[in-house]
């Protein structure tokens, strides 16, 4: 009886913890296996604790090169997609023009289309244009598919923005540039930031489109894929764990700043 009652009382907590475990477990496995010392080339069975990989994360040929390339592509793709996407979002929400509805739905196309189809079409396009596959083709492709996510995130924010705020700024002696910098941009910032983070994450771990259009260039996801055929170095787990920890730290710092700001405002 009392056990049943306890379960009933804590049902939501139990369900929450189970869901959390479901989401985090894979990450924990990656983490644990970054301290493994495998026999042979595959890191799939636990052998013994070791810090070897952590002490020499770049010890595998081409790994850190591919990581750096991926980070560069993600950075530029984020920048490009965020700048373009923000402008598109403002145009779609704030202005009425011909084909606005059509553009509104076309923006969703990259999200809806199977990635492999888009990858193949892009390759066809690049080959027909005589483009040399590599860094630039990958970057162009990434900006293209990140764009729709940025537009969606920023559009949601801009739609909830009161256009009267900008009128108030203009009324209070702010010219067009000042109005944008002092009012429009800060208020749209959360949406833009969300779009940018999404773009970075998508670009950084994209495999299919990248694989089709990279030519002989190798990004980090391609490197992991390649090694999975021939043997997985522990360093992959190290990089994975590091990325995960950095992401978690960033979220924590962000929440800390937000809560401090909130308590400051209250006092």
């Amino acid at each position: 009886m009392s056990v049943l009652r306890w379960i009933r009382r804590n049902l939501i907590v139990i369900a929450g913890l189970l869901t959390l475990a479901y989401m985090i477990l894979p990450n924990i496995v990656v983490m644990v296996f970054s301290f493994n010392k495998p026999k042979g080339r595959f890191n799939y069975a636990w052998q013994q604790f070791s810090l070897d990989a952590w002490e020499d994360p770049c010890g595998v040929a081409d790994l850190c090169g591919s990581l750096s390339l991926s980070l560069q592509i993600a950075f530029w793709a984020t920048l490009g997609a965020t700048a373009l996407g923000t402008m598109i979002a403002f145009a779609l929400v704030r202005y009425r023009f011909r084909a606005r509805g059509a553009i509104n739905s076309l923006i969703f196309l990259p999200m809806a289309m199977p990635e492999v189809v888009m990858a193949a079409s892009l390759l066809t396009l690049f080959l027909n244009m005589g483009a040399e596959l590599g860094f630039w083709t990958v970057l162009i492709a990434h900006i293209m598919f990140c764009l729709s996510f940025v537009v969606t995130a920023v559009k949601a924010r801009v739609m909830s923005m009161d256009p009267r705020l900008e009128e108030a700024a203009r009324d209070l002696y702010a010219g067009p540039v000042q109005t944008f910098v002092r009012v429009t941009l800060p208020i749209a910032a959360p949406g833009i930031a969300a779009g940018a983070l999404l773009a970075f994450a998508l670009s950084f771990d994209d495999f299919i489109i990248t694989n089709f259009n990279a030519g002989s260039t190798v990004t980090f996801p391609m490197f992991v894929w390649g090694s999975a055929q021939r043997g997985t170095p522990v360093q992959i787990n190290v990089i994975g764990t590091a990325m995960f920890v950095i992401a978690v730290l960033m979220v924590l710092v962000g929440q800390l700043i937000a809560s401090r700001r909130k308590s400051n405002a209250r006092n």
């Binding site: 705020l165 009128e167 108030a168 700024a169 209070l172 010219g175 405002a265």
Partner: protein
């Protein structure tokens, strides 16, 4: 620059200003002068063009035709950020990412004024929000946000302060309080206020001059008491308070016009008649305010002094309001005549169904042109928003 703005004042003058959106005319060519230092109200139901007119003064809306003058200066082509005019927006439009101090300092900073602290403190003192300087707008109540919006505009010492339904979002009690507060601030700073509202009571309480707008035109302009006592159109008569309008035919003219209406004869002073033709035989609408009418039971009809306008009828409805009782009377002159009686000595016979005589001083009657919609403006405040 600030000094100059404060001293080189002047009237706001709109000359032939109009606004059309495609085929829709929001404001018909309009001439209006708002004297310097006055509290001016633009009153009308939503969609009457009052906000558009205000926004054309602010520069937020481009006038289709006409000129906006501030003093002798033509400001028609100036963008809003170059006009010495500030606006208190409907729903305030406070910047959510800035605290109260920065909201209020915004205009000063944009004009390159560095030391804003003292001015901001003084201004927050004026609106009694000194303790809230570091809060964000969403942490303030509606009334407090409203005062921040006023402070944010006033700190720039504009020549004209524009208020777009500034009290619309507040509850009734707070609204009354803020009306007095705004009036106090206006008297204190002496700046011209142009106030847009759909609330006729608000307009009459606060403004020196009220312009009643309807369908993109100014119907009538004047001091509140003048508008109330001498409406010149049925719209103004019905929109500003309540009026009983009785149609009739002029039977004799002279110093007093005598009109046959509802089976009797009613008199009104000729100078209170705004109809274009006052010749005998012409049609006329007689107007009388509900509180100017006295109500007598039919049995006491003989006690009514001679020389008063009389209408007989039957009470169909009565509601007790506290200070007064409001009666609806059915009579040959009109089906729903409104009568407000002060509750001084209540006659217990005055209940629905009772036969009564309505009587009033002929001098309290006004006359309107019969060629207009008798119900114009009658569905006023409740339907406006």
């Amino acid at each position: 620059m600030t000094q100059q703005q404060q001293t080189a004042g002047g009237d706001v003058r709109l000359a032939g200003i109009s606004k059309t959106y495609g085929s829709f005319t929001a404001v018909h060519p309009l001439d209006l002068t708002v004297p310097q230092g006055s509290f001016f109200a633009l009153l009308g139901a939503s969609g009457c063009g009052k906000t558009t007119t205000l926004r054309m003064i602010a520069g937020l809306e481009e006038a289709t035709t006409g000129t906006v003058f501030l003093g002798d200066k033509d400001i028609t082509d100036l963008p809003p950020y170059k006009r010495p005019v500030n606006t208190v927006f409907q729903s305030y439009a406070l910047f959510p990412h800035l605290d109260i101090t920065e909201n209020v300092a915004f205009g000063l900073r944009r004009r390159g004024i560095k030391s804003v602290k003292k001015q901001v403190d003084d201004m927050l003192e004026l609106v009694q929000l000194g303790d809230f300087a570091r809060r964000k707008p969403h942490q303030l109540s509606g009334g407090q946000q409203q005062r921040v919006a006023v402070a944010r505009a006033l700190i720039n010492h504009p020549q004209v302060l524009l208020l777009d339904e500034p009290l619309g979002a507040l509850d009734l009690k707070l609204r009354r309080q803020m009306q007095l507060e705004l009036k106090r601030i206006q008297t204190e700073v002496g700046i011209t206020f142009v106030h847009v509202t759909h609330d006729q009571e608000e307009a009459m309480t606060m403004a020196d001059t009220v312009a009643v707008m309807n369908g993109g035109r100014v119907e009538q302009l004047g001091a509140p008491a003048d508008l109330y006592e001498n409406p010149r159109t049925t719209f103004v008569a019905n929109f500003l308070g309540t009026s009983n309008l009785i149609g009739g035919e002029i039977v004799s003219t002279g110093e007093n016009l005598v009109v046959a209406a509802g089976g009797g004869k009613l008199a009104l002073p000729r100078e209170r008649c705004s109809a274009s033709s006052t010749a005998a035989g012409g049609r006329l609408l007689l107007g009388i305010r509900p509180e100017k009418i006295s109500l007598a039971h039919a049995d006491d009809a003989d006690d009514i002094p001679a020389g008063r306008n009389r209408v007989t009828g039957r009470i169909t409805d009565s509601s007790f309001i506290g200070v007064s009782t409001q009666y609806v009377v059915e009579s040959p002159a009109g089906t729903a005549l409104q009568v407000y009686e002060q509750n001084i000595e209540r006659d217990t016979r005055l209940v629905p169904g009772a036969e009564v005589v309505l009587h009033w001083n002929p001098a309290h009657t006004f006359g309107l042109d019969a060629a207009q919609d008798i119900d114009a403006g009658a569905t006023s405040v409740e339907d406006a928003e």
